[in-house]
């Protein structure tokens, strides 16, 4: 039992923090967020080529680092702190696990190698907003020479700009996790319509991907046709853990911003940070941040077990729900309190608080709200299983 970062993990965390502090400044974020792509391509190149952060969980056999979720959440925390505009979450936290878990290396290997080379990827599964696999409404049909895919995918993180798309679809008439397949395609393939869907949180771009009777070759299907539901569920849980870590980073950063601001801002001839009304808010923020951190470290250890086939892998659904329910509330509460503690300037476009406030709400709504995850826990606890 060792519940802290190793030196190597600490180094990854500090490297990421130092780089993002320098490169993901307020000005850089604001410049990137108004572009259609939503991120600066040269920043992404640096993340891949100089820091190699995109390769953390990629297998060593193709030249990746072969590390796990403890390292990944160390990076995601910093992504949240500096609101890094990059297709990292979509590529590394959503598409990579889908490619790696859904099929043998012989099939997914070439796609992972493209990602290792700096190409980006996105996972599209939401047709209609519902929890987990139930959101999949796109359909696939087995035809001569492959599959016909039809669907209207919404809320696809970086879906409008990704180089590679992983698409979930189900056989007609199935529901839940039954009958689901995952397909991988080059996003530039003919017959794929994509557009940017501008959103409340400008720092993470969402896209819409439409396909209508798109013909895909047999080898585009990852794993056995119709049997990817369990994998998709696990991929979403892993992504949920990563997102929770990002929320924890946001919670930490807005706390730091608020404390710094209140120490500098003077009213009644004293820094407002000396008023208990302010200090007690800040103390509650710190409590939420630290508890969120403990939740993320726990969830990351469990995600690692799931990723590497350890004994505690079966705890992933619970750990993801625990982390996302707590971190969602902690992140948004902290962002809201930070805005309040900034007073009038917290309501302006000029100060960065609103960027975090919007990110906090967007992340809370993504991959299951706090109350949805609590209901998942309630099912486990009270009804004898998550699907009861």
């Amino acid at each position: 039992m060792e519940f802290r970062f190793t030196e190597e993990q600490q180094m990854i965390r500090e490297t990421a923090a130092g780089f993002f502090a320098d490169c993901s400044t307020s000005a850089a974020v604001r410049a990137a967020m108004v572009t259609e792509r939503g991120y600066d391509l040269s920043l992404w190149r640096q993340i891949c080529d100089d820091l190699y952060l995109h390769a953390i969980t990629l297998p060593e056999t193709i030249g990746g680092m072969g590390l796990g979720y403890v390292e990944l959440i160390a990076v995601m925390e910093q992504m949240g702190r500096y609101l890094v505009c990059a297709p990292y979450f979509a590529t590394v936290c959503q598409a990579v696990p889908a490619l790696q878990l859904a099929d043998a290396a012989s099939v997914s290997g070439p796609w992972l190698e493209r990602i290792l080379g700096g190409e980006t990827a996105a996972l599209a599964w939401i047709g209609q907003e519902r929890p987990g696999c139930e959101a999949v409404t796109a359909t696939c049909e087995v035809v001569e020479g492959g599959f016909l895919l039809s669907g209207d995918y919404r809320l696809v993180v970086d879906g409008h700009s990704a180089d590679i798309l992983v698409l979930a679809a189900r056989q007609a008439g199935t529901e839940g996790r039954e009958g689901i397949s995952l397909f991988v395609v080059d996003a530039a393939a003919e017959g794929i319509r994509r557009q940017w869907t501008p959103a409340l949180d400008q720092t993470r771009h969402l896209g819409r991907v439409e396909v209508d009777s798109l013909l895909l070759p047999a080898e585009a299907c990852l794993g056995s046709c119709g049997e990817a539901g369990t994998v998709l569920e696990q991929v979403l849980q892993l992504a949920t853990v990563a997102l929770a870590a990002e929320q924890m980073g946001v919670a930490q950063q807005v706390q730091d911003l608020a404390v710094q601001y209140t120490r500098e801002r003077e009213q009644f001839n004293r820094p407002i940070a000396s008023f208990q009304a302010i200090k007690h808010k800040a103390a509650d923020m710190m409590l939420r941040t630290e508890v969120a951190r403990s939740a993320c470290y726990y969830a990351a250890c469990i995600a690692d077990e799931a990723w590497q086939g350890g004994a505690m892998a079966a705890e992933l659904p619970e750990a993801a729900a625990v982390a996302k329910s707590y971190c969602s509330d902690a992140c948004f509460s902290n962002a809201g309190e930070a805005l309040q503690m900034h007073g009038g300037v917290g309501f302006t476009w000029e100060y960065d608080v609103h960027l975090y406030f919007k990110r906090a709400k967007a992340s809370e709504l993504m991959l299951g709200t706090a109350s949805e995850h609590r209901e998942t826990l309630a099912k486990l606890l009270l009804d004898g299983g998550a699907n009861a």
Binding site: M1, E2, F3, R4, F5, T6, Q9, V70, Q255, V259, T262, R263, R270, P271, A273, S274, F275, Q276, I278, K279, H280, A282, A283, D284, M286, L287, T289, E290, V291, R293, S294, A295, Y297, Y298, A300, C301, I302, D304, E305, A311, M312, E318, A321, V322, S325, Y326, S371, R374, E375, T376, L377, A378, L381, L382
Partner: protein, 398 residues
């Protein structure tokens, strides 16, 4: 970062569990799940004998160094011991103040004579301790103690006068560690001494405080020319605050894991009641149960972080330790409210007249003390803001 324990530690877990299963029997069987917070008045005599039973098996003071008679367990083994102890439903420890607070203080700051005189009684479970800190005028403002200690050169003894309050287990205790003012002209942190006082003497009067539960875990203790020997001061006159603060460091740590296992037992009871009466179908109750479950789960990992982390080189607390009291006390208070809410109107009905509470009623009421004692939530927030976030202190009123 990894969660699993080594094979050797897992063997230790089996050893603890086996010993408890074999010994928590006979006259001790009735003690299962008893004597915890809110129930500390139950079975005092049997629980004292239980302390001695533990000592016979070498299960008192497991974290103390072997040089001082302890078991010298690693942090992991201590975690395991406290978890298994609570999992087995073994009773609330009447010896915990001696084992967790007085003993470690005497080991850290005491003389060899004090160690020889006081540690054996703690180790063998025959001598119980209580803590003489709070006073009517010194609660949150602990440094405002007024109790005085005057050295009588003729008798070669310290003479203590004053009043302590909220003293847990004073009526069962053999000794009390007391902070008292050695310099009558001093104020605040300076001029205090840390004394080891025998409770069995004419100058000590213990009066129980009847709490909102109708029971009395806490007491007032009056010192009226109470005495202790010249050798019963820990550190020098004037060092009392330093010794007392050093002691606070011993309060955090591995025992929190056992406390959480007790919380788990309480939450299990809440779930059992909700399932039995159908309130587990109420969507709001479901959310509250799930939240309590999630946060208790996180609490465990927060403790493991506390135990795995290094504190700062100056002994300062890491963030996760600084917030811990506020976290668990607030969580426990919410659990108390949930406990009565899942019962519905039935939750009103007492076990028996005149005022015998059900377990969940007792929980509902007793948790209100958690956010007050040991540094109230308001004080905790001040400490977090000032030490953890370096926010400025309040200006002095006068």
């Amino acid at each position: 970062m990894k969660l699993s324990f080594s094979a050797e530690d897992e063997r230790f877990r089996t050893e603890v569990a086996d010993w408890l299963a074999a010994n928590l029997t006979g006259e001790f069987a009735k003690l299962k799940f008893r004597g915890g917070p809110g129930d500390e008045h139950s079975f005092p005599e049997a629980r004292k004998r239980w302390e001695q039973k533990l000592a016979e098996g070498g299960w008192t003071c497991v974290g103390w160094p072997q040089a001082h008679g302890g078991r010298g367990c690693s942090i992991e083994q201590q975690v395991i011991f406290f978890e298994e102890y609570a999992r087995a439903g073994a009773p609330g420890r009447v010896g915990h103040i001696g084992e967790g607070l007085a003993g470690p203080t005497i080991i850290a700051f005491g003389t060899p004579e004090q160690q020889a005189k006081y540690l054996p009684g703690i180790l063998n479970g025959t001598e119980l301790w209580c803590q003489g800190y709070s006073e009517p005028g010194a609660g949150s403002d602990l440094a405002n103690v007024k109790t005085r200690a005057r050295f009588d050169t003729e008798r070669n003894q310290w003479v203590i006068n004053g009043q302590k309050v909220w003293t847990s287990l004073a009526h069962e205790s053999d000794y009390c560690f007391v902070i008292a003012r050695t310099d009558p002209d001093s104020v605040g942190h300076k001029g205090l001494g840390f004394f080891l006082v025998n409770m069995d003497q004419p100058g000590v009067d213990v009066r129980p405080i009847e709490q909102i539960t109708g029971t009395s875990e806490f007491n007032e203790v009056f010192f009226d020319d109470a005495v202790c020997d010249a050798g019963d001061i820990v550190g020098e006159p004037g060092d009392g605050w330093k010794v007392a603060m050093g002691l606070l460091g011993f309060e955090r740590g591995v025992s929190t894991l056992g406390q959480q296992m007790q919380f788990q037992n309480e939450l299990d009871e809440v779930v059992r009641v909700a399932r039995a009466n159908g309130r587990d179908r109420d969507p709001v109750i479901r959310q509250r149960i799930a939240q309590a479950h999630a946060e208790l789960k996180i609490m465990r990992y927060n403790s493991l972080r506390m135990l795995s982390g290094q504190s700062g080189s100056d002994g300062s607390l890491q963030g996760e330790a600084l917030i811990y009291k506020l976290f668990w006390s607030s969580w426990h208070r919410s659990l108390g409210e949930l406990a009565i809410d899942v019962c519905g109107q039935e939750g009103q009905l007492l076990e028996a007249a005149p005022y015998e509470l059900t377990r969940l009623q007792s929980l509902f009421l007793f948790v209100r003390s958690d956010t007050i004692y040991g540094g109230s939530n308001q004080i905790q927030r001040n400490i977090i803001a000032e030490r953890g976030l370096e926010m400025p202190r309040e200006p002095k009123w006068r």
